[in-house]
Subunit: 214 residues, 2 copies
DNA sequence: GGCAAAATTCAGGAGAATCCCGATAACCAG
DNA sequence: CTGGTTATCGGGATTCTCCTGAATTTTGCC
């Protein structure tokens, strides 16, 4: 029996997936999360075999949530479920340790097949995403450079800032001092050579850490 | 028996909805469309009672598809299913003749309830969307022009803010007092109901006033 | 295990930005 | 002429940011 945690911010999609997957005898839904932070928490509590993780989620995005899960619970396989075959999302999720990447316009059979594939210890990627990966792979072979890497905490703060949170707001949400958030913000801006929240927001959008809506 | 057509570009969501709705005895799925254009075509061929219409779809978006359907087949009720409670989408769909607007993070019970409500000749709107509509309604009552009209000066300041300019910076560039820029910024944020430079930047990007690069 | 580097946390104080009040002047429509 | 809109500023209280410095925890490596 494969125990599955659903992480997606849209309840009706979660319910749909639950109904679909509950028709499979070897699959059991053990929990649902509607944002990245709670998906990390629930993974620690429920120890599911597979987490089906939406890439774009509020509070803590799917990529950073995946990174935390794969580090804290390496036994748990994360299966990315995304609307986009965008290279940054694919790259980010796989880099964060996701064992698969499927698109939301795939069939239910593909989802169940992906779950069984990652349970068998293999990687599953939707056909529509393969081209993206190959392109990115080739690009990395030619030119491999990573400008300015942010730490996990910094990326987390960056997202909250780009979502419009104030320093005090973020500090309260993370149970940290205002001073700490200030330090993170400053380090982020120093590393990325940004001089305002506006530029920081645009950077976050380009990197897929936040979206223009919401 | 209510005959329903599903229109959404994500196959797995369609399958999920189909599985959910087929559990209802009085609801029957008669077809699926993965873009706006085919939803119009299928509505003409199948004459469903209700079309569940995603707002964002390729080829022909949900708003224009809805407009065509309600003009060609006024007997068919369109029920909008959207990720966003964004005012423009809500307004667009309802203006196009949609008889309901529900969010994707709602429960399945809400969806079936919405279907039965529109079949009874009434309008159904998700609770999370009601506020958006009321706001828009009130705004239309008070100011009979387009929602959120910025003055030229305000748009100018908005752009400079979204490009990362500080208040002092912008004031110097426009040969104005810092106080004046502060007033403009405040008025912009009040008009648009924004609470941070991050949100303001995203708004400017959506409106094409600035770009994510630069 | 142990050491160095990185990451994360926080404080004090000066300066800058913001918020909330109000005000003045130009302009245009009824 | 009156009223609304736009654009321009100021005072003062509050809040945020910037700079310097540092303690603690985690991580990487031999």
């Amino acid at each position: 029996m494969t125990r599955v945690l659903l992480a997606d911010d849209h309840k009706i999609l979660r319910q749909g997936l639950r109904t679909l997957l509950e028709q499979e005898k070897d699959i059991q839904i053990v929990g649902e999360a509607d944002n990245g932070r709670s998906s990390v928490k629930l993974t620690g509590e429920l120890a599911p075999d597979v987490v089906i993780m939406d890439v774009a989620m509020p509070d803590l995005n799917g990529i950073d949530a995946t990174r935390r899960i794969t580090e804290a619970e390496p036994r748990t396989r994360v299966l990315a479920l995304s609307m986009h075959s965008d290279g940054r999302y694919v790259k980010g999720m796989l880099q964060a340790g996701a064992r698969g990447y499927i698109l939301k316009d795939c069939a239910a059979e593909e989802l169940t097949h992906a779950i069984r594939t990652v349970m068998a210890g293999q990687i599953y990627v939707s056909p529509g995403v393969t081209g993206t990966i190959v392109n990115d792979y080739v690009r990395q072979l030619t030119a491999a450079d990573e400008p300015a890497t942010l730490t996990r905490r910094e990326r987390e703060v960056l997202q909250l800032l780009a979502e419009g949170g104030s320093t005090a707001n973020i500090a309260a949400g993370l149970h940290l001092s205002v001073k700490t958030i200030e330090t993170h913000r400053k380090r982020i801006m120093d590393k990325l050579d940004l001089r305002s929240i506006a530029e920081l927001t645009k950077y976050a959008i380009r990197e897929g850490i936040t979206t223009v809506d919401g």
